[in-house]
């Protein structure tokens, strides 16, 4: 498997560690979230047949966390973004 790193170009999946659903970026604020909201964040994942946004970590590379959009049907990698940029675009900051 190849992941086309936005800064480094195509890299072998052997350099990466996968975490799973990119919804893990959307962590609720623990001071204001209900237990149910925090529970859903921690435990619930979609399992789509089709495009899936996943978190991959370039552990044996530049230590970037990436959001990889991958089709679970064809295994095609459709899009790769720096997770930090995705997080910022989703309004995460400090």
């Amino acid at each position: 498997m190849i992941i086309d790193h936005p800064l480094l170009g195509p890299r072998d999946a052997a350099e990466f560690v996968v975490l799973g659903d990119a919804s893990l970026i959307d962590r609720p604020d623990g001071m204001t979230a209900t237990v149910e909201e925090m529970h859903d964040y921690a435990y619930l994942r979609d399992n789509p047949a089709g495009d899936h946004r996943e978190l991959w970590y370039h552990e044996q590379g530049d230590r970037s966390w990436l959001v990889v959009t991958r089709s679970t049907l064809t295994h095609e990698v459709i899009k790769v973004e720096l997770a930090r940029n995705v997080a910022r675009a989703q309004g995460r900051s400090r």
Binding site: L7, L8, Q60, G61, D62, R63
Partner: protein
């Protein structure tokens, strides 16, 4: 009691191997200092690098070289400076010139640096390095995994590289590199 002083010892005892006209040398004369870019501090750090060493901030896949000081990017907001320096105060010398424009950590002892050179180098690299190093330009860099060990490759010439890997697994790393040469010569 006699006065005791500590002596620095190269991890591989100063390994220097010749394999059919190729050479693997442990470079224990190089200091390595990481520089992290403070949030929103790119410009100040770039200026400090230029003023301090006449160095540009390297692209993610390229190193920059000024005299004997080399800069390579290790992450979007972190780079390594590699330069000849003997004493364990490399970080302070870097911080002197950065004047707080970057966060520094001494990495000299964290890494083993092997300089590999010789006519079979590209063939040997094929056996250990998943990156497309034959198409690296001189100065090209990549961080990857070699024989289960994290490693960096910097192309320093047509047939030469600097290879960096964790110092604790230096014996295994040397074995991996040496085996690669032996298997192609």
């Amino acid at each position: 009691m006699d006065e005791i002083t500590l002596e620095a010892a190269p991890v591989l005892g100063g390994a220097n191997l010749e394999i059919s006209g190729n050479r693997i040398v442990e470079r224990d004369d190089l200091a390595i200092v990481s520089i992290a870019t403070p949030l929103d501090g790119q410009d100040a750090l770039a200026e400090a690098l230029r003023n301090g060493w006449s160095l540009d901030v390297p692209d993610p896949t390229r190193s920059t070289l000024s005299g004997e000081v080399r800069a390579i990017r290790t992450s979007p907001d972190q780079m390594l400076l590699i330069f000849p320096h003997a004493t364990p105060d490399a970080e302070a010398t870097v911080q002197d010139r950065l004047a707080g424009t970057g966060y520094t950590t001494d990495q000299t002892d964290s890494w083993i640096v092997l300089e590999v050179a010789g006519p079979d180098t590209l063939s040997a690299m094929e056996r250990v390095c998943p990156l497309d190093v034959p198409s690296f330009e001189i100065g090209g860099t990549g961080r990857t995994v070699m024989e289960h060990m994290g490693a960096m490759a910097i192309r320093t010439g047509d047939d030469s590289f600097l290879l960096l890997s964790a110092s604790s697994s230096a014996v295994s790393f040397l074995h991996a590199v040496e085996t690669s040469y032996r298997n192609v010569t």
